[in-house]
């Protein structure tokens, strides 16, 4: 039914097979645009300060804090593709890493201390997800409230006192998850957690593009009524997305404690705006239904390089925010050419 009027019922399929490469480019336009923006930006930085941007040490320093953002940006892609938003992940990262840090301070083995932290992250995910689905609150407002609530609990519980880990580097846990590679000469000093971050991105890609869960997240975000009519439990899918967000935020928080060898009552706070910017700059659209895990992860690289680039180019830190804004707006204009908005 409903073929074009010229196409007769043909014995062989009459459609033209698009060239595989063209098709691949088409399917990955958003991630490829993010990559292009990143390359153009790095090229500009290299022209402005060749000495800094051809030196591996520059990238090593970017790679130390960048993986922390990857752990929140990948689940954020799921949340935004599902048609919702999350502003509570900074406080989730803060409160779960507090549990981890306090347990380690009290003599817990870090491998065990991660477990209650993860459970709390899952619990926060279930709570936020339930508020957004069954209770029917707007995710923007509910997660904004949750962010204040959880940060408030931290402040009441700690009264501003940090937890320090001067001996952190001696722990096996630290060496596995936040150590440096020193066996391979050409990447000596490369932070190991960058590899964990990339592994997380890889798993996120599979989950988003090849797994039932990621597919359902995208369908629910595209059209919740259609999803329900075809038997997808919309509320359950959204709650699962928030659980994934809670897990990602926990991992980011714990990693931040390892990297800084310190837990502060503000841990996680700095993640909010850069992570959101990275998601959108990387090509995940704001309106839900689709997204790109790889693109948004490249977005993390874009955002993380701006500050380094500006300082290396000899500008003062005062212009960072201005350039952040400029890059975000220019990138979104660039992403605008990736096909029309369909809903």
């Amino acid at each position: 039914m409903s073929t074009t009027s010229t196409s007769l019922p043909a014995a062989t399929p009459s459609r033209t097979q698009p060239k595989p490469f063209r098709q691949w480019v088409n399917n990955n336009r958003r991630a490829l645009s993010a990559l292009m923006i990143f390359v153009v930006m790095l090229t500009i930085f290299m022209i402005l300060s060749p000495r800094v941007f051809t030196n591996p040490i520059t990238y090593r320093s970017i790679f130390i804090s960048l993986p922390i953002s990857l752990f929140v940006v990948v689940p954020l892609v799921f949340i935004i593709a599902s048609g919702e938003i999350d502003l509570s992940f900074p406080a989730t990262a803060g409160i779960t890493s507090w549990v981890f840090a306090a347990a380690v301070r009290d003599g817990w083995d870090p491998f065990t201390a991660v477990i209650p932290a993860l459970l709390l992250g899952i619990l926060v995910g279930v709570s936020v997800g339930t508020l957004v689905t069954y209770v029917g609150l707007s995710s923007l407002v509910a997660t904004l409230g949750m962010n204040f609530l959880l940060r408030g609990i931290i402040n009441m519980g700690t009264e501003g006192i940090a937890i320090q880990f001067p001996q952190m580097r001696e722990l096996l846990f630290w060496q596995i998850f936040a150590g440096r590679i020193d066996n391979f000469p050409w990447i000596r000093g490369f932070p190991i957690h960058m590899l964990w971050g990339l592994l997380f991105v890889g798993l996120g890609w599979i989950l988003f593009n090849r797994h039932k869960f990621g597919t359902h997240v995208q369908i629910v975000g595209d059209n919740p009524a259609s999803a329900a009519e075809m038997g997808i439990n919309v509320n359950r899918v959204k709650i699962r997305a928030y659980i994934f967000m809670g897990i990602g935020a926990t991992l980011a928080g714990v990693l931040s404690v390892l990297v800084n060898q310190n837990w502060w009552p503000t841990t996680g706070d700095g993640l909010l705006l850069p992570a959101l910017a990275a998601v959108f700059v990387g090509g995940t659209p704001t309106w839900g239904g689709i997204g790109t895990v790889v693109g948004s992860s490249i977005g993390v690289g874009i955002i993380a390089s701006i500050e380094t680039g500006i300082i290396a180019a000899g500008l003062t830190g005062y212009v960072t925010q201005f350039f952040n804004g400029l890059v975000i707006i220019l990138s979104l204009i660039g992403q605008r050419f990736n096909g029309p908005r369909h809903r």
């Binding site: 039914m1 409903s2 073929t3 074009t4 196409s7 019922p9 043909a10 399929p13 009459s14 459609r15 033209t16 097979q17 098709q23 399917n27 599979i206 090849r210 797994h211 039932k212 869960f213 597919t215 359902h216 995208q218 369908i219 595209d222 059209n223 009524a225 259609s226 999803a227 329900a228 009519e229 075809m230 038997g231 997808i232 239904g289 689709i290 369909h342 809903r343």
Partner: protein
């Protein structure tokens, strides 16, 4: 007595203070084509959504193959019972491919719930070829938003045919279709009956529907 495939007894459903259905009783026999007709807002779509598990009725009974349904009737249960529905809104995710839409909610999965993308593509391609739903301009990887209204309708109908229903429910299946395409849909309905399946369809074009329906059910403002 004819064998009843599905039966709705005294179904009542309201949305807030809108009384969509009150005490509706109807049935569909095995291997028959039933036309459901009624004014706009009479509650036709609501009725078939109860049958397909999208809405739960406020009161009343649902009988499938002579057994009363206990507990909540869901879309998944309706699918398992062999009930396929083409909804009035077509139930598509337009930013996604034809193949993904055909398997929406019932993806072909392998290990760890991973989707067998290639298998889905091949199945979608085979389905489209078998029912003569092919074109130069689209394939199973085409994004639904790039298809015309009639083509989108074709995707929704193809999906229902793929799962070989025992009860095929069609909510205004021919509204966006040309005369020849409409005839094709009627042929599918007749073919389904030939194979022993039943069809429940909603249409406003009673003159056309008259030719193929065995029986009509008239819904008059929720009653």
């Amino acid at each position: 007595m004819e064998q009843r495939l599905v039966e709705l007894k005294e179904i009542t459903k309201s949305f807030g203070n809108v009384n969509a259905l009150s005490h509706v009783t109807m049935h569909v026999n095995k291997a028959e084509i039933v036309g459901l007709i009624g004014d706009n807002g009479a509650g036709k779509s609501t009725l078939i959504k109860i049958l397909s598990g999208v809405h739960s009725p406020d009161s009343g009974e649902l009988w499938i193959r002579g057994k009363c349904v206990e507990g909540r009737w869901t879309v998944a249960k309706a699918h398992t019972a062999g009930i396929e529905t083409v909804h009035q809104d077509r139930a598509l995710a337009v930013q996604h491919t034809v193949a993904r839409n055909i398997f929406m909610g019932r993806e072909i999965t392998g290990l760890f719930g991973l989707i067998r993308v290639k298998k889905q593509y091949e199945e979608a391609e085979r389905l489209m070829r078998e029912i003569g739903f092919t074109s130069k301009v689209f394939n199973p990887d085409s994004v639904v938003a790039t298809l015309s209204g009639g083509e989108r309708q074709g995707v929704a109908i193809a999906r229902a045919l793929y799962f070989e229903a025992e009860l095929l429910i069609l909510d205004e299946p021919t509204t966006a279709l040309s005369l020849t395409e409409t005839q094709k849909v009627y042929n599918f309905m007749l073919a389904a009956k030939e194979k022993g399946s039943s069809v429940l369809f909603i249409s406003h074009n009673i003159f056309h529907a008259y030719d193929i329906a065995d029986r009509f059910v008239i819904l008059d403002r929720g009653g």
